[in-house]
Every structure is written in structure tokens, then in C-alpha cells.
């Protein structure tokens, strides 16, 4: 009996489907991770409303995000900090910033009294950091 010989192609056949799966997953993972690192909005606050907002937020390569919750507690990077610690961070940032712009973003709850936020502005000015911004929701 004559058995037909299977005609094989020479070389290795590459299945691209798992490769595409993994690449898709990695792209989406890095998109989400970079977005989370950029916003740092871990502590939930009720932001104030404003109309004269600046939506082009990606001009500053380095920034410090300080969150002031409704109970007047300061948070930086998910940790509870004191005003002195924030002042130290600002002094370090000012020493390292050189030519690059540095921004302090204040995410304050709209109900928090102004005297809880005012020292942050004073600390920024004293540390020589002139660019600050308030996180708001557009009206």
C-alpha cells in the first residue's frame, strides 16, 4: 500500500496570536499604570468647581500632588504627612529642580477651610516654587 507523503513546508510556522495577546495586554497595562501615576488621585475629595481651567496638564514633567481631605489632613503619595514634611519635600524639590519646571498641585476638598490650604501656598512661595495649581472640576 502506498501511503501519501505529507508535503511539509520548510521552516518554522509562527503562531502570532499569543504574541498579539501579550502585546495588547502590555500596552494596556502601561497605559493604565502611567495614567494612575500621573493622577495620583487616591484619596477621595470633593473638588471645587471652576470655569477658567487649564486642561493642558502635561507640560510640567515633575510635580508634587498634595491632597487636603475634608478632615484637614494632608496626604502625599498616599501617606499622611504634616506641613513640615511637605515643606521639606518642597525644599528638596527646589534644590533638585534646576532648570526644569516643578509644580505643586493642591487637591483640596471644597469644604475645607482656607486656613488649612493657605500654609501650603506660603510654603511653596518660601521654597521658591512658583507654579501651583488647584485641582478642580470644570463647571
Amino acid at each position: 500500500m502506498r501511503i501519501p507523503i505529507r508535503a511539509r513546508r520548510l521552516g518554522v510556522a509562527l503562531n502570532l496570536t499569543p504574541l498579539i495577546d501579550i502585546v495588547f495586554l502590555l500596552v494596556i497595562f502601561f497605559l493604565v499604570a502611567s495614567h494612575a501615576a500621573r493622577t495620583e488621585s487616591t484619596e477621595p475629595v470633593e473638588l471645587p468647581l471652576a470655569s477658567e481651567v487649564d486642561d493642558d496638564q502635561d507640560q510640567v514633567p515633575r510635580r508634587l500632588v498634595v491632597t487636603v481631605t475634608a478632615d484637614q489632613v494632608l496626604h502625599v503619595g498616599g501617606r499622611i504627612v504634616t506641613l513640615d514634611q511637605v515643606a521639606d519635600l518642597l525644599a528638596e524639590a527646589n534644590a533638585e529642580k534646576q532648570d526644569s519646571a516643578y509644580e505643586v498641585r493642591i487637591r483640596g476638598d471644597r469644604r475645607v477651610p482656607f486656613h488649612a490650604v493657605e500654609p501650603l501656598m506660603i510654603a511653596c512661595a518660601q521654597a521658591g516654587i512658583t507654579r501651583i495649581g488647584y485641582a478642580v472640576l470644570p463647571e
Binding site: 495586554l25 471645587p48 487649564d54 486656613h115 501656598m121 512658583t130 507654579r131 478642580v136
Partner: protein, 163 residues
């Protein structure tokens, strides 16, 4: 004996190769659509401070100097009066105060845009109210907007942070 040809198997494998990809892509698409609906994009209200020495060289005595527009944001008092905003002797209160303030500041800015605006915000005023006032001054397009802070040694206020 019938030996199956390889052609049939290969054709079936090729047609099934796209199925896991489509599954994963659809799954991720649905996940991110659901996740994005729960997230509100924050905007930024920028402020440019004057660095270094932030206090005015002299404390400001009694009457306010001419050539400055002082905007005072007053916290509620014990008599039941709510938040008020005072600008050059005019008092804005009630739920419509922000719109009235904005109209007044825009009129003022059309006359003298170079007039420095100084925001004197009482300590107990909520941040939302303070930023709404600052936002109204920005919308009026004044060239310079300052925040008044309490001087460390005296009780007087002095212009500190600038737009």
C-alpha cells in the same frame, strides 16, 4: 486504509486561531469602558506665585491704598448671615453672589485691567468659595491677582501670592 490529509487539519487550526484574540480584546474593551465611566477627569486652576520673600515690605495700615481692588471673602457670622464677598464697598451675598461678582469684576476689568486685585480670604471660608472668587477674578481678565496672607508678626494682612 484511509489516511487523513494534513490539509483539512491546518485549515481548521487557521480558522480557530483568531478566536482567543477576539475574546481577549473584547474583554479588555468592555473592562475599560466600564472603568472609564467611573472616573472623572480633573482640571487645573493654575496660580503663579511670587517666590522668595512673599511678604510686603510694609504692613498696610488702616485705610486700603488707592489703586488696588480688594476682594474680601467673609465667612458666615453668628447672626445667620452666610458667606459674603465685599469689593470696594459693595457686598455680594446669597446664592447669586458669584454671578453678580463676576459681572462687577468684568466691568471693573474693562475700565482698568492693570488694577491689581487682592483676595483677602478669611480663614474659615471654605476652599470652594475661595477658588470660586479667584476664578471670577481670572475670568474678568485682570493682569495681576494676589492673595493676602496674615503677616507672621502683625495682625495686618499683606499681599503675597500673585497670579
Amino acid at each position: 486504509m484511509r489516511v487523513p490529509s494534513a490539509h483539512f487539519h491546518r485549515q481548521r487550526d487557521d480558522s480557530q486561531a483568531m478566536t482567543p484574540l477576539i475574546d481577549v480584546v473584547f474583554l479588555l474593551l468592555i473592562f475599560f469602558v466600564c472603568a472609564s465611566t467611573d472616573q472623572v477627569r480633573e482640571s487645573l486652576l493654575p496660580t503663579e506665585l511670587s517666590g522668595g520673600a512673599i511678604e510686603a515690605s510694609d504692613s498696610i495700615p488702616g485705610p486700603r491704598p488707592l489703586g488696588e481692588a480688594w476682594v474680601r471673602v467673609l465667612s458666615p457670622n453668628n447672626t445667620g448671615v452666610g458667606l459674603r464677598i465685599e469689593v470696594e464697598g459693595r457686598l455680594f451675598s446669597g446664592p447669586d453672589r458669584h454671578r453678580l461678582l463676576s459681572t462687577f469684576l468684568k466691568t471693573l476689568a474693562q475700565t482698568a485691567p492693570e488694577l491689581p486685585v487682592i483676595l483677602d480670604i478669611e480663614p474659615e471660608v471654605p476652599l470652594g468659595e475661595a477658588l470660586a472668587t479667584y476664578d471670577a477674578a481670572r475670568a474678568a481678565d485682570f493682569q495681576a491677582i494676589h492673595f493676602a496672607i496674615a503677616a507672621p508678626t502683625t495682625s495686618d494682612t499683606a499681599p503675597a501670592a500673585a497670579r
